[in-house]
């Protein structure tokens, strides 16, 4: 491509950015040649997002300079970034659910052309890159992968020279990931550079030719991911050696302890997913995973299991033979069912309240933090302090506001609060979402330890790697239906991916193998730390 002869597409020279109390970027320098797929790798809080915001003109750098195609540029707004030829696909989509694909694309443009012309251009982009998307579908009817395609089309319509992808695969099925990679490789072959932000190492190994690893705002390494092992990159990211999780050693034994049978519930209007006939069993000591793309009924299932949703629920939930499905949230807790929802701020914890108060929120009955309706403030402080200590939560103490903790630390506190109540069943959603690698590994180990004591653990997660590492068995939820459970040992990733995408037929005996579906990533299933 003759890239060597030319200046790099994007070159950062000693970019620094400070926020009160923290240096987000500390003299970050790297270059992305034209047509290259370059990974930006780092833990949460390593400074990836800040750096990308500087490149896309959302924030200004305090020091340093940016060169684009060899020329020094000042990017002070996303509009200027787009004018230069920088496109960006955000991790969180900005789409209006009640509007069509085309309307959403038009809304995202600086100067949208007339509808016919826009439609023609959109169709051309879709054809060129082999993307399937109906411009007249309403967004709320689309899968997450399709929604992401809207964002990609938005970016491609500007014929970018540099496309920034921020954690693009976090909500995709393995098949969708492979489709996305096809598109990105094709774009790169046409000379568009891609800056790919992720912490999923096997994806980076499969896709990128070079990688810059950030830690604590500094570049700690630049490497060729194809020549590194996932483990070596992970250790560069976290700056230490990664502790392997202790072996699960088949603790699952005995009879089913937690039995959910034909659970159905209506979805929250307007776009909620209703649960349809969900059944599963968890044995003592077993970790049971529920995989699936976001929005397929996971939140509804969590709410029905914890008791937060009671209206219109049919079916049964048995714990050690006792029926829980008619009990209140508090009664279920007393019976030994602990839960931790996906959203920490405002759901699992009250940000404006202290950690001691947040301990009262869900541990008051089991841990005796209140008696006769009166709060025992000292007991609450002591319990919070115990959780802080046992789960190495970085906080000033039980009096610290939950909102002052970082995401990972708050999650450690929330998980610790539930686990230290010694529940018979722990139901968690996205236990390590947005949590740094060290904390994630800690939380996973805590769940394994809890299961080893004979408890049942149900993990709902979109992160398939996490489930494969953690669980004994897993099932896939799609549009409110739960597939047959599968043992993780010897599981077929293709099949899980197809189930995630909503192809239910493959679960049945005699289903023909799907032709043309490739393994998402060639080396994905080596034992490697899930990050």
């Amino acid at each position: 491509m003759g890239a060597a002869a030319r200046a790099p597409r994007l070159e950062l020279k000693a970019i620094s950015k400070r926020f009160p109390g923290v240096v987000a970027n500390d003299h970050v320098s790297f270059a992305v040649p034209a047509g290259a797929i370059h990974a930006l790798l780092g833990e949460n809080g390593a400074g990836k997002s800040t750096l990308v915001k500087i490149i896309y003109g959302v924030q200004g750098a305090d020091e340093g300079e940016i060169a684009f195609d060899g020329e020094r540029v000042q990017i002070s707004s996303p509009r200027e970034a787009r004018a230069l030829g920088i496109g960006m696909v955000f991790q969180h989509f900005s789409l209006f659910e009640a509007m069509t694909v085309l309307e959403n694309i038009a809304l995202g443009m600086d100067e949208p052309p007339p509808r016919r012309e826009l439609e023609a251009r959109v169709r051309q982009v879709l054809d060129t890159y082999g993307l399937s998307l109906d411009p007249y579908r309403h967004v709320h009817t689309l899968s997450v992968g399709e929604r992401q395609r809207i964002e990609i089309v938005r970016a491609l319509l500007q014929q970018p020279k540099l496309l920034i992808m921020d954690e693009p695969t976090s909500v995709l099925t393995p098949q969708e990931v492979e489709q996305l990679f096809e598109t990105l490789r094709r774009l790169a072959s046409e000379g568009c550079s891609i800056l790919y932000i992720s912490h999923k190492l096997h994806e980076i190994k499969a896709l990128c030719q070079s990688a810059t690893i950030l830690r604590g705002g500094k570049v700690v390494a630049t490497c060729d991911p194809r020549e590194e092992s996932a483990r070596s990159m992970a250790e560069l990211m976290i700056g230490g050696s990664l502790k392997a999780l202790s072996d699960k050693s088949g603790a699952a034994k005995g009879e089913a302890r937690f039995v959910v049978a034909s659970l159905s519930a209506p979805g929250e209007p307007p776009f909620g997913t209703s649960l349809k006939d969900v059944s599963f069993e968890v044995r003592s000591g077993e970790i049971f995973g529920i995989a699936g793309v976001a929005g397929n009924g996971q939140n509804e299932l969590m709410a029905v299991l914890s008791g937060e949703t009671g209206k219109g629920v049919t079916g049964s939930i048995h714990l050690d033979g006792a029926e829980l499905s008619r009990l209140s949230v508090g009664a279920r807790r007393r019976a030994g069912l602990a839960s931790s929802p996906e959203e920490r701020n405002g759901h699992a914890a009250v940000p404006a309240m202290s950690l001691a108060d947040n301990a009262i929120l869900s541990a008051r009955s089991r841990m005796g933090l209140a008696s006769g309706g009166v709060i025992k403030a000292k007991a609450a402080r002591d319990y919070a302090a115990k959780v802080i200590e046992a789960f190495s939560v970085k906080a000033t103490g039980p009096g610290a506001a939950a909102g002052s903790l970082s995401g990972g630390n708050l999650q450690k506190f929330v998980m610790g609060r539930e686990i230290m109540q010694n529940p018979a069943v722990l139901v968690v959603s996205q236990p390590t979402w947005g949590v740094d690698a060290g904390a994630a590994s800690f939380i996973r180990q805590a769940m394994i330890d809890l299961a080893a004591k004979g408890a049942c653990v149900v993990v709902v997660s979109q992160d398939l790697d996490e489930l494969l590492e953690l669980c004994d068995r897993l099932a896939v939820i799609n549009e409110g239906r739960l597939s047959e459970p599968m043992a993780v040992k010897g599981i077929s990733i293709e099949r899980v991916g197809l189930l995630m995408g909503g192809i239910h037929g493959v679960g049945q005996a005699g289903a023909k193998p799907e032709a043309g579906v490739r393994r998402p990533t060639a080396d994905a299933r080596q034992p490697e730390p899930a990050l």
Partner: protein, 364 residues
Amino acid sequence: MMLAAPVIAVAATLLVGAALFTLLGHDGPGAVYEIFVKTLFNPYRWQDLLVKAAPLAMTATGLAIGFRANVWNIGAEGQYILGGLAGTGVALATLDMTGSWILPAMFVCGILGGMAWAAIPALLKTTLGVNEILSSLMLNYVAIQILYYLMRGPWKDPMGFNFPQTAMFTADQTLPMVVPGTLIHLGVPLAAAVALTAFLVLARTVTGFQMKVVGLAPKAAAFGGFGAASTVWIALLAGGGLAGLAGIIEAAGPFGQMVPQFPTGYGYTAIIVAFLGRLNPLGILLAALVLALTYVGGESAQTTIGLPSAATGVFQSMMLFFLLAADILVRYRIVSGRPAHAGVPAAEAAADTAAKPKAKAVTA
């Protein structure tokens, strides 16, 4: 800073009030002096202040319990009337009797009357999802009509020369004075005791914790096992019960009978008191005195400098207005931004919001 907002609001009320009445052709600074300063330096007026502040503090304490949980009971006026009426019913039934049990019985029925009136919006909210702001507010007008009906019909004093009012209460039905020779009746220490109790309940009990969590994070409250329906019931029954108690205390205290002029807007003013007191029962005691000052001072300003009687309402409203404005401005700062225009990419807007947390100054 959240504690500074009420102080800023009161100061702004005084300044703008003075300017406003000057523009209206009155002696503005004089009016402010007359209402807010002179009253304070007249020891004889202090008892008036306490007597006015008692029902305000009591009602506001009840409202604050609900407001903390974002249950907006605007019907304290109606609950106050129904409480007064229920207690009056006891009084009328016991006119020929004596005994120290009568007054407590009136109190209990007053509380129950207010609770019953508040139970209507609670029931509508929990079963049909009716907005409690509207239902509780509209019931105020129903309550007034019930009062008028009873005064002009069944409860009219047969010896009252056809005036629409009940018989005077007997000594056993009237609040005793706690400071002899003054107007300070039993309701004043009772209001203080209610506020202190509420303070302890809110700070130390699971129910108080529930109200706080529901207000701060409704989803976390559901996660913590606090049902939405129980919250609505607790909030409205607490508000209704205390408004009802305030009602019977007014009827059995300063009025000494039930009259059509019984509702004087305490139920509405109590909303201002609750917010000015930061929804904290101890703060409410202080705020009730400030609002009582507008009543007492406003009345004396009518006679001394001929200020219109609406002046009291104007000062009260300004106080709420400035308080809400101060709350907003304490939390946010004004930024002069580019004018938003159609076609700003949604992604950009989202990214901008995410990237500028500084524009929303965080408060303690």
